[in-house]
């Protein structure tokens, strides 16, 4: 490992750094490439949309755009025992998907982080067992003793994936897991 780190440091100056927006879901840190993040704001008032699964918090008016707000903790069942449901003031990251904008709700202010591209490793096999399916994961970034899971939002937010929002699809998926 020390060798690896030394190698990382060497390349740090040579290559363009990757800029991530890092946020916390459950106990883990996740990152999204900064160019996929449109803005971060205090969560606006959300209107619950009936006939959507619980992780779709509803829709909100973000500067005149009506966007869907989703809770990834709930989506990926990452709510750990220490964390109750999202209450109080939270933040919303507006993400640019292909044809639309979508809001992801987070507890703490997401932080920008700059790191060398080489510090993002391809997903190891074992990740497949986790709830966050590996196809959304671009890689794992290691920085000192932090581990940041880098998500590929464009894949996560494709209409096909969001099709799972359909109540029927979710309930059958939930049944499978049981």
């Amino acid at each position: 490992m020390p060798e690896n780190q030394a190698a990382d440091k060497k390349t740090f100056k040579a290559e363009a750094p990757v800029q991530l927006i890092v946020f916390r879901l459950g106990g883990e840190e996740y990152g999204i490439r900064i160019e996929q993040v449109k803005e971060v704001t205090l969560t606006p008032e959300i209107a619950r949309m009936p006939k959507t699964p619980p992780f779709v918090k509803g829709i909100a008016n973000l500067r005149g755009d009506i966007i869907a707000i989703i809770d990834l903790e709930e989506r990926f069942r990452l709510r750990s025992t220490g964390n109750g449901p999202l209450t109080g003031s939270t933040y919303t990251m507006a993400l640019e998907a292909k044809d639309y904008t979508i809001g992801i709700i987070v507890r703490e202010v997401p932080q920008p982080l700059s790191l060398p591209a080489s510090s993002i490793e391809k997903t190891p096999e074992f990740i497949q067992d986790l709830n966050v399916h590996d196809k959304y994961i671009e890689g794992i970034a290691r920085l000192d003793n932090r581990i940041i899971i880098v998500l590929d939002m464009l894949k996560l937010l494709t209409p096909e994936e969001i099709m799972q929002l359909k109540p029927k699809a979710t309930s059958s998926a939930a049944a499978e897991r049981r």
């Binding site: 009936p50 009506i66 869907a68």
Partner: protein, 545 residues
């Protein structure tokens, strides 16, 4: 499509003919009661308008006659001379000549000057005796050949056009369904008929939208007066330039932005432009320039309000944001200029140090922003410190404004299009009966199934539980919807109000949920879901216990 010029000519004709009819009528009143002030004022006003319109259209011959007659009526009105004597036949023949000229314009023929009349009018103005030559004969000849004419234009209340547009909207929705069905069936004859139907529906929609378009000028032309009043109250010198009055836009959009535009113009004069002394000191011309302009940009209309005043002081906005606790000092200093401008649209944010009568009434730019949002438009600002500010409104040319009933369910507002609302009742729970697991209400001797909307909108799709009347306590607010002749009562928590709304489509990925015809933004900025009654009715039928 008619050319703009032709359209204007028709408008001129309609107004001129109306004015001519009214003037003839007032003249006969004056003949009997020469001192009738109302009639005198009316004739004076009509002549004045006719003169202005005719000159604007380039019909100077009409303008010349109307101008001289206006002068004479001005003298009569200010009691310099009575409506009597030899001037009366001259004025009568003047009205007749005007009528003839207006008809000449209508027939698309060239106008000729009526020199004897003009000379006579000039003599009357100068207080000389007019030369009357067999005038009565000319008059009677004119009378004999006169035809009765109805105007080619009709005035339509906007409500009727709204209704028409709503119907067209419904038609478009049904057309799409028919198209889908026809494609499923695949019959070639059916396909060609539906294709034709589809084109007709498109044309109809286009025509109705076109009929609702008015020139931006109908609103802009009210501003010279507003600017004058505001400028004098603020003790500033302002010169207003207006351009693009011909740009066409939906009348209701214009209605909705009226207050916003008024606010922005007041703002520009109150906060944007400096006083003459300040301007001179800064090396600028003493008179401030304010420009209102409209132009088309693809499907949108851009309206700009530009002043050459002091511009937005970005640093001051930052300081204000920190003072108000909107942002930390650190965050404020990191904002780009464009981001600072967006702060101006936050509720309750005003940089004006002193509240003036005109522009600081606690209504901020946030209200303007909300109005533009509700139209699905955009609001932008550009500014240069010391050089001026431009606000740009990007507006859709056309919209469907729908009447809707607003109600509350589980703490959130919802809207239901009036189109599908049959009636609204408040019933005590003992007036509801359970038949076969479904609630029935007897309204006007009709049995209508009723369901709690909250139950119908629950997240699972299983059959509804048999209705339990004991869950209902006290009076129930029920909206009776009607779709395809099928009525369904929806129990909601509370009626709010009736309101005209502009429906925006639900953005992806939630657009696959067909229960919602769209969303609308309320004046409060709250997001309000618009329920789709056809889909609700289908859902009820599918989940009926």
């Amino acid at each position: 499509m008619k050319s703009r010029e032709q359209e204007y000519r028709e408008l001129f004709m309609a107004e001129a003919l109306e004015a001519y009819d009214a003037m003839s009528q007032h003249m006969s009143v004056l003949e009997k009661r020469p001192g009738d002030e109302a009639a005198l004022n009316e004739v004076f006003r009509l002549l004045h308008n006719l003169k202005a319109n005719a000159r604007a259209m380039g019909y100077n011959e009409i303008g010349e006659v109307a101008h001289r007659m206006e002068t004479i009526f001005g003298q009569i009105r200010s009691k310099e001379r009575p409506f009597a004597g030899s001037m009366v036949p001259v004025l009568f023949s003047g009205i007749d000549v005007l009528g003839g000229m207006i008809r000449t314009v209508g027939a698309n023929q060239a106008l000729t000057e009526n020199l004897p009349l003009i000379e006579n009018l000039d003599r009357v103005i100068a207080g000389e005796e007019p030369v009357l030559e067999e005038d009565s004969e000319v008059g009677s000849e004119e009378d004999a050949t006169r035809k009765l004419e109805l105007s080619d234009l009709v005035y339509i209340p906007i409500k009727k056009l709204d209704h028409l547009l709503n119907l067209v909207g419904e038609l478009i929705i049904d057309r799409d369904r028919v198209l889908t069905l026809a494609q499923e069936v695949g019959d070639p004859t059916l396909l060609s008929v539906t294709a034709h139907l589809s084109r007709l529906a498109d044309d109809l929609q286009y025509s109705v939208m076109d009929a609702r378009l008015v020139g931006v000028g109908t609103l802009f032309n009210k501003f010279p007066r507003v600017v004058r009043d505001v400028a004098s109250a603020e003790q500033k010198q302002v010169e207003l330039t207006i351009s693009g009055q011909d740009i066409q836009i939906d009348r209701n959009i214009l209605q909705i932005i009226t207050d916003s535009l008024l606010h922005l113009v007041r703002n520009a004069i109150g906060h944007g432009l400096e006083t003459s002394e300040e301007r001179t000191k800064a090396g600028k011309p003493a008179i401030g320039q304010l420009t209102l302009s409209a132009q088309t940009d693809r499907d949108n209309v851009l309206i700009r309000i530009t002043d050459d005043g002091r511009g937005i002081d970005v640093e001051r906005v930052r300081r204000k944001a920190v003072e108000r606790g909107v942002l930390s000092r650190d965050a404020a200093s990191r904002l780009s200029e464009a981001e600072v401008y967006t702060l101006l649209f936050e509720a309750g944010f005003s940089t004006a140090e002193q509240v003036t009568e005109i522009s600081g009434r606690g209504v901020g730019l946030d209200v303007v922003k909300l109005a533009i949002d509700s139209l699905g438009g955009q609001l932008g600002v550009e500014s240069k410190l010391g050089a001026g500010t431009t606000f740009t409104l990007v507006l859709p040319t056309s919209i469907a404004v729908k009447g809707a009933l607003l109600f509350e369910l589980e703490g959130h507002p919802y809207a239901l299009p009036l189109m599908h609302t049959d009636s609204v009742v408040s019933l005590q729970s003992d007036r509801l009966h359970v038949v076969g697991g479904t609630l029935l209400a007897k309204v006007l001797s009709e049995n209508i199934p009723v369901v709690r909307l909250a139950d119908l909108l629950s997240d699972h799709d299983d059959a509804l539980l048999p209705a339990d009347r004991s869950k209902l306590v006290g009076a129930q607010d029920i909206i009776i919807t009607s779709y395809n002749g099928r009525k369904l009562g929806l129990i909601v928590d509370r009626f709010l109000r009736q309101q005209d709304i502009v429906i925006k489509p639900v953005s992806q990925p939630l657009d696959m949920i067909d229960l919602f015809g769209g969303v609308t933004l309320l004046g409060s900025g709250q997001v309000c879901l618009v329920l789709d009654v056809p889909a609700l009715t289908r859902l009820f039928l599918a989940r009926r216990p």
